[in-house]
């Protein structure tokens, strides 16, 4: 298995509070991604990073921010959590981006409940 650690794995938080999810990799891969998984939607991309301090938005980026100060860490922040952000969040990594010659590896997920 690829060395991807997500923390926390489970969290319950109140509406309006800030939340940060951490993804840590030991593979030295350039690309890192945050996805959310919701029933009936598969996985949807929130943000991704293509290098230290280089990030870009995905299709569902509203309400989320990210930071990558080191190759191994990619942080996802919900500035003010809302109930619609209750979801399972997956971090993923790839060596050289999304191509058919490459593979994306996923972490085991972080379950976030906003009450």
């Amino acid at each position: 298995d690829a060395g991807i650690t997500q923390s926390p794995r489970h969290k319950v938080t109140e509406t309006g509070t800030p939340v940060t999810l951490r993804c840590h990799q030991t593979e030295n891969h350039r690309y890192m991604y945050w996805y959310r998984q919701d029933p009936g939607h598969g996985l949807r991309l929130i943000h991704y990073s293509y290098g230290v301090k280089d990030t870009d938005k995905g299709e569902v980026s509203d309400g989320y921010s990210v930071s990558r100060s080191k190759t191994e860490d990619f942080l996802l922040t919900l500035e003010s959590a809302t109930s619609s952000q209750t979801s399972v969040y997956f971090c993923a990594i790839s060596e050289s981006g999304v191509t058919s010659r490459n593979t994306i590896y996923f972490g085991e997920g972080s379950w976030l409940t906003v009450v």
């Binding site: 991807i4 690309y31 991604y33 009936g40 939607h41 598969g42 996985l43 949807r44 991309l45 991704y48 293509y50 870009d56 995905g58 299709e59 997956f90 981006g97 999304v98 191509t99 058919s100 010659r101 593979t103 994306i104 996923f106 972490g107 085991e108 997920g109």
Partner: protein
């Protein structure tokens, strides 16, 4: 635009019988296609990928998928289901820009003893 349709949200088979999970895509480009599997409370694991080298792609755990351009399909099959195959399966297509996979909604496979 590209999208992925998985025609069945839930498929139930008996152990030892064939598995067919259907996937259709729409794309204005030559697609790159993948199947991923997700066991309960786990991350996603790559089963197989289509890279245009061969239309019949073999993956792990006895799964295979056939790319049919005329039908815009990439169905996943296995000759004989095992209890450990019970999981959620996602068909995925790559966008040619934006560093993104586009996921289908998933098909939950149940395997009955």
């Amino acid at each position: 635009a590209q999208s992925v349709t998985q025609l069945d949200s839930h498929v139930s088979v008996s152990e030892g019988t064939p598995v067919l999970l259907r996937c259709n895509y729409s794309s204005s480009y030559s697609p790159s296609l993948f199947w991923y599997v997700q066991h309960p409370n786990k991350g996603l694991q790559l089963l197989l990928k289509y890279t245009s080298a061969a239309t019949l792609v073999k993956g792990i755990n006895g799964f295979e998928a056939e790319f049919k351009k005329s039908e815009t399909s990439f169905h996943l099959t296995k000759p004989s289901a095992h209890m450990s195959d019970a999981a959620e399966y996602f068909c995925v297509v790559i966008l040619p820009y934006g560093q993104n996979f586009v996921f289908g909604p998933g098909t939950r496979l149940s395997v009955l003893p």
